[in-house]
Amino acid sequence: MALKDLKIVGKSVRLRDLDTHVRGQTTYYEDVRIPRMLHLKMYRSPHPHAKILKIDTTEAAKQPGVVCVLTHEDMPGKKTFTPLAAIGVAPEDEPILAFDKVRWKGEPIAAVVAESEAAAKAAAPKVKVTFEELPAVFDVEEALKAEAPIVTPWGKNYYQYPDDHAASQIRYGDVERAFAEADHIVEDKYQTKPIEHAPLETTGCVAKPEGNGRYTVYTNIQALYFALDNTAAIVGLSPAKLRFVGGTVGGGFGGKVDIQVEPIATLAAIKTKRPVKYKYSREDEMRVSSTRAAWRIYVKDGVMNDGRIVARKITTYQDAGAYIRLSSYGTMKHAGHMPGPYTIPNVSVDAYCVFTNRPPSSAMRGFGVMSGSYAIELQMDKIAAVTGVDPWQLRLINAYRNGDMKAHRKAADDAALVETIQAAAQLAGQALPADFAAMSSDDRKGG
């Protein structure tokens, strides 16, 4: 299909809810008015890694306005979950409320439910937990050493991909032979940092008993039905008893997919027979919500004098923090992406999803991919410097063309990089030599 035949792509389309946005009449979960609502605040771990010896909620339960305090003992069935279990991510590693151990500073332990937000907030610090602190690990490569403290319940600080692989791997061609034949070897290490989504509306929900065994949950989750299924399994109800109302999210960016508030709020609503609101404060949002993962990426490229990349070897580590959430999926995306949009005949990738005692990371806009592009494009500029090939031309030479086989063995059939670079060069006022300006994604010539 030619670009000119597209009806929507390339055109500005007005959001359907702009009219209500500008009038302040869009209904976010918190704008639904519900009488006799209770409020939930969490007592969280002050330690990054510790055994839990005892949880004492007596004092907290006696505080003014407190209706109940929930711990792992109130879970009707399973005590752990992982949000993507339905699509094969395993094991269910994350406690809904911590029981034997805490693995990150901020991990939820006891939910204090009270008549007002202020009462819940005042009572939460009165929960008394006896801990035995454990050595903690905060670095992905340290975490993979034999002597590192063990973070996960399965005894290995990495996600186990099918067939017991410690990493998501790609093997294509013969990297070592190509390195031996290359004119240059360009190697470097890249590090990204965690990033908080900081949506204007913080994570939250209200769970409301309907009085007939059914519960309505108003939420700003970005994954409504994953949240419904996980909540049903955790609170021990048929999914048919739950109605989730959402879709209007005050900024998400991947930060509202981890199903952190709905199960507990619903459990509290079941216990108290009252509507329960569980909303992150701004401090909670910054301190305990998932972040984009930090990545450490080692890249080694074999390059010819004319700029062609003939081999790429990657060893890369995602800091998943303490629990899986969406990280194992991010690592797989990352592995597939690391050759970049370039045709490289010999590729080896080992991408590790590593567990540390840092707050869990998870989804955020192109997670796994943005970090990879950051490393790859810095690397491309270094290759340009080493070979003396112009950085625009270097990318055009290596850009994949339709019909090229990618390293993860999918043929490119929708390549647009050549045209994108040409358009970018034009916008940037960068003149390209005639043979480069004439390149096309449908033609290998010159590349």
Partner: protein, 161 residues
């Protein structure tokens, strides 16, 4: 803890509201008067999503003790919605795609209204300065600034015509 009864004029209506000593104007407007355009983004004066007008001046409802507003006129976006001066601003935000999730939008509109009341023909720098207390995480600021520029032009064009 003594409860005090505040006299407020909110969006043109006189109202009496009982409040405790720690209550903020944000709680009064959202929770007692159910004016939900007043958003809670941070409750610490950092994001501007609870912007309102107190006696015509731009204020953050979350940092305003309810008692400090006693006897004042308070205007939220609900109160501005039907006024002739806000409709062109709203239209300009729509035409410039100046909202995405919409959570910051009520605060942006109230801040814009406050700016254009005191400065009908602001420069681009003055617009940026006037909106510097209002955070947006989705759309980016360029469409919002453009929306304010276009709204100012539309409103001043109307006045001079």
């Amino acid at each position: 803890m003594t409860t005090k009864v505040l006299r407020l004029n909110v969006n043109g209506e006189d109202t009496l509201v009982p409040v405790g000593p720690m209550a903020t104007l944000q709680e009064v407007l959202r929770d007692k008067l159910e004016l939900t355009s007043v958003k809670v983004g941070c409750a610490q004066g950092g994001c501007g999503s609870c912007s309102v007008l107190i006696d015509g001046e731009l204020r953050l409802a979350c940092l305003t003790p309810a008692e400090a507003a006693d006897g004042c006129t308070v205007t939220t976006l609900e109160g501005l919605n039907e006024s002739n001066s806000i409709v062109p601003i709203q239209q300009s935000f729509i035409e410039n795609y100046a909202a995405q999730c919409g959570f910051c939008t009520p605060g942006m509109l109230v801040a814009t209204k406050a700016l254009l009341e005191r400065n009908p023909k602001p420069s681009r720098d003055e617009i940026i300065e006037a909106l510097s207390g209002n955070l947006c995480r989705c759309t980016g600021y360029l469409p919002i600034i453009k929306a304010v520029e276009d709204a100012a032009a539309a409103l001043s064009g109307k006045q001079s015509a």
